[in-house]
């Protein structure tokens, strides 16, 4: 309104014209570049944080980057595909170690994702109906998510000690064991790893599924109830199908996180990681830093990246096709 008034009088026309001249509509060049300028910081950050390190990592996997060259690593000689051959030769100690570690990681990921999802779903469904103290219980469930990962895992390390840990003490008091069980070495190391990772992850599943549940219209449940459907049938026929898009993303994210988990074994076992807890990221770290063979370590990392890309692609393809059919 005020602009129109100003433009109506010749005295006001001049300043108004000057003002609009400075506006973006009079700068077609700037208009064209403004979106790119605004995007530039994000693109730069993506380049620096992801793309460049990834390209460098791929390049490292093709050179003989051992202790003899790390001071001047651009001068390391080409290794061709030798680093990949070493990593994939399962008759060789290095390849055999990688294969065993891969197997441990697959088992760890599948069980941890399944447990996290089941616990998250059970808690989300249980806390859906309003009741007194629901807020407090929900907050309590989020403690593992809010706690710094390092502090939480370190506490588990103390609790899982054989002689002084709380876990053996409690099991002993409950007469479930003689209190002499090893949790951090031997075969139980995998059980411990899955327990700690699930404790860390399930609240994310809980949060996500709780948000998903709240988006399902209550009318559906009311109608089903009128038709005589019980809780289990409602969950199977209403809740699960409605949460399908949430679950697709949730399961994928949980799998990718668990498969590339480094913190949990690193903090839980320290430098004394047992074979049963030898997750692949930690295995690659050891292969690189303990034997100073960064070329082979890089090749292992690239193989892991390819595997995760194939799994992700296949998962999205299969679940997408099912969605389209539905």
């Amino acid at each position: 309104m005020s602009v129109a008034t100003q433009e109506a009088t010749p005295a006001a026309a001049k300043p108004a014209k000057k003002k609009t001249k400075r506006g973006p509509e009079h700068r077609p060049g700037l208009n064209r570049w403004l979106p790119y300028l605004l995007l530039a910081p994000a693109v730069l950050a993506e380049l620096l944080i992801h793309i460049i390190p990834m390209v460098v990592g791929i390049w490292m996997s093709f050179i003989k980057l051992t202790k003899f060259f790390i001071a001047n690593w651009s001068a390391a000689p080409s290794a061709g595909f030798n680093n990949y051959k070493v990593a994939l030769d399962f008759n060789n100690a290095v390849g055999e170690g990688l294969l065993k570690s891969f197997g441990v990681t697959v088992a760890f990921s599948l069980i941890t994702v399944a447990l996290s999802w089941v616990l998250g779903m059970a808690a989300a469904v249980a806390l859906q109906p309003p009741f007194r103290g629901r807020g407090i219980v929900r907050t309590f469930f989020l403690v593992p998510y809010a706690l710094p990962a390092y502090a939480g895992i370190l506490t588990w390390n103390f609790m899982l000690q054989r002689d002084t840990g709380a876990v053996n003490h409690v099991l002993n008091q409950l007469h479930l064991s003689d209190g002499r069980t090893f949790w951090l070495i031997g075969g139980n190391a995998l059980v411990s790893l899955i327990t700690v990772a699930t404790w860390k992850l399930w609240t994310f599943a809980f949060l996500t599924l709780m948000a998903g549940l709240q988006s399902i219209p209550g009318d559906l449940y009311e109608a089903a109830s009128v038709d005589g459907a019980g809780n289990i049938r409602q969950w199977r026929n209403i809740t699960l199908p409605s949460l399908r898009p949430v679950n697709l993303v949730l399961v994928l994210v949980l799998f990718l996180w668990t498969f590339s988990d480094f913190n949990t074994p690193y903090v839980l076992f320290g430098t004394a990681q047992p074979p049963a807890g030898d997750l692949i990221t930690f295995h690659i770290y050891n292969a690189s830093f303990l034997t100073w063979n960064f070329g082979t370590g890089a090749a292992m990392s690239v193989l892991l990246l390819i595997f995760l890309m194939i799994v992700t692609g296949a998962y999205l393809f299969v679940t997408g096709r099912r969605s389209r059919r539905a």
């Binding site: 070495i185 004394a272 034997t291």
Partner: protein, 439 residues
């Protein structure tokens, strides 16, 4: 206008960051490598005392004296052992290195192979006081044989068998002189019902385990590498040496199976200091932890870690901490002055007691203990019963692969499994293959 200002601000900031980055290579000062002036050295010290803070407290007045004497300031950072090797690797890779760094002397040949460290050639060695001031065995750990060392000894360490005098007296025992005596004594002093064990082992620590793999094999006259630097892990002497050490928990049952979770030497030393075990094999710097945990100096004695009857009298590897100068230092002269100062007799005497170290200088006396017998025992082990770990580039790989293999075998024993000589041989073959594949 606002956008233009914003773009200008971004450009100015970017330029500022670039300039700061350019200057970042010389993070200390810009006065060059001359003499004194207002130079500042960056020094990464390893953890030697009871904590990182304790190290800072001990080193700060020593470094201040150096600054007073030379005008060269020292920027100190104390780094824990778990992080030190990775920090050094990162420094080598990035070129953003300190001027002077502490290294574990067993890493010397491996780090030398990176070509990132200043060789102590004739001139550099003269600048730090000449090679003749060092104990020859200690200086020999500075790098590969026949080359100019890239590190020089700073703190000397050796293993000894600590024993609880009261427990031995109560059982009518004398300190052991042979392996067999040690095992017999340990069995007499073991009573799991009373939660008392003959020995404590850091059986989950790969660095400790590999030291005992080395020493026990050396007692069998076995080597881990041949003259070409190739691994020879599976010889009978190596296998039997490793098995003998594992048997302390497996066959002899003188160590608590829980020791398989002890991932550093401090835990086993604490068991000894709190009188849960009668013996522990540790380096002389255990003294400070033992006393800090309440055991009085006269309550324990030390004898050399015994060899089996008829075995080679090797009681330790030549353990210790060395000093290295990064080759890309911009303050070479100042760094060499600092190395000379840290390895001077006066500084060695000052640091020898708080860090419980053995002197690395000829004719110097140990000051870490007032117990003359203990000092003499460690000095004797260090000077006459020690053998350097393999001085080959793959030494670090030997430590990690064999040490971790022993962790796994101890875990198997602790959880009720059995480890035979064939199992040891197979584990050492895997370790050998890993080293070969990574070399």
């Amino acid at each position: 206008m606002r956008l233009r200002s914003f773009v200008a601000a971004v450009a100015a900031t970017a330029m500022g960051i670039s300039l700061a980055a350019c200057g970042g290579g010389d993070k200390n000062d810009s006065s060059g490598g001359g003499s004194g002036g207002d130079q500042t050295l960056t020094y990464w010290a390893s953890n030697q005392g009871t904590s990182l803070d304790n190290d800072k407290e001990v080193l700060t007045p020593v470094l201040q004296k150096f600054t007073q004497d030379t005008g060269i300031k020292v920027n100190l950072e104390v780094i824990g052992w778990n992080d030190l090797q990775t920090r050094i690797q990162t420094a080598i890779t990035s070129g953003q290195a300190p001027d002077v760094v502490n290294i574990g002397n067993t890493w010397a040949a491996s780090l030398q192979a990176t070509d990132a460290f200043l060789p102590f050639d004739g001139d550099a060695m003269t600048a730090i006081g000449g090679k003749d001031k060092f104990v020859p065995t200690a200086l020999a750990t500075g790098g590969k044989e026949g080359t100019d060392p890239t590190s020089v000894p700073l703190y000397g360490l050796a293993y000894g068998l600590y024993y609880n005098k009261a427990m031995f007296a109560a059982a009518g025992l004398q300190p052991p002189k042979t392996w067999e005596e040690m095992v017999t004594d340990a069995q007499k002093l073991t009573d799991p019902a009373k939660k008392q064990w003959g020995m404590a082992l850091a059986a989950g620590s790969y660095t400790e385990n590999v030291h005992f793999a080395f020493i026990n094999a050396a007692q069998n006259k076995a080597d881990w590498f041949n003259s070409d630097g190739k691994p020879t892990f599976t010889g009978d002497g190596n296998v039997q040496g490793v098995l003998r050490y594992l048997d302390l928990m497996q066959k002899d049952k003188v160590a608590n199976p829980s020791n398989a979770q002890y991932d550093n030497g401090t835990k086993s030393v604490n068991d000894f200091a709190t009188k849960k075990v009668a013996m522990v094999i540790n380096q002389n710097n255990a003294d400070s932890s033992i006393v800090a945990n309440g055991m009085k100096a006269g309550e324990y004695g030390v004898v050399p870690f015994p060899a089996p009857a008829g075995g080679e009298q090797v009681a330790s590897h030549v353990a210790g901490i060395n000093l290295s100068v990064f080759k890309n230092t911009k303050h070479k002269d100042a760094a060499l002055k600092f190395v000379k100062y840290m390895t001077d007799a006066a500084t060695q005497t000052t640091l020898g007691k708080p860090f419980s170290s053995l002197p690395v200088l000829k004719d110097a006396k140990p000051v870490f203990t007032t117990d003359a017998a203990e000092a003499a025992t460690f000095a004797d082990v260090y000077n006459t019963k020690s053998k350097p770990l393999p001085l080959v580039p793959a030494e670090d790989q030997f430590e990690s692969t064999v040490g971790k293999a022993m962790n796994t075998m101890f875990a198997k024993i602790a959880t009720g499994g059995t480890v035979t000589a064939d199992d040891v041989k197979a584990a050492l073959k895997t370790a050998e293959d890993q080293v070969a594949a990574s070399s």
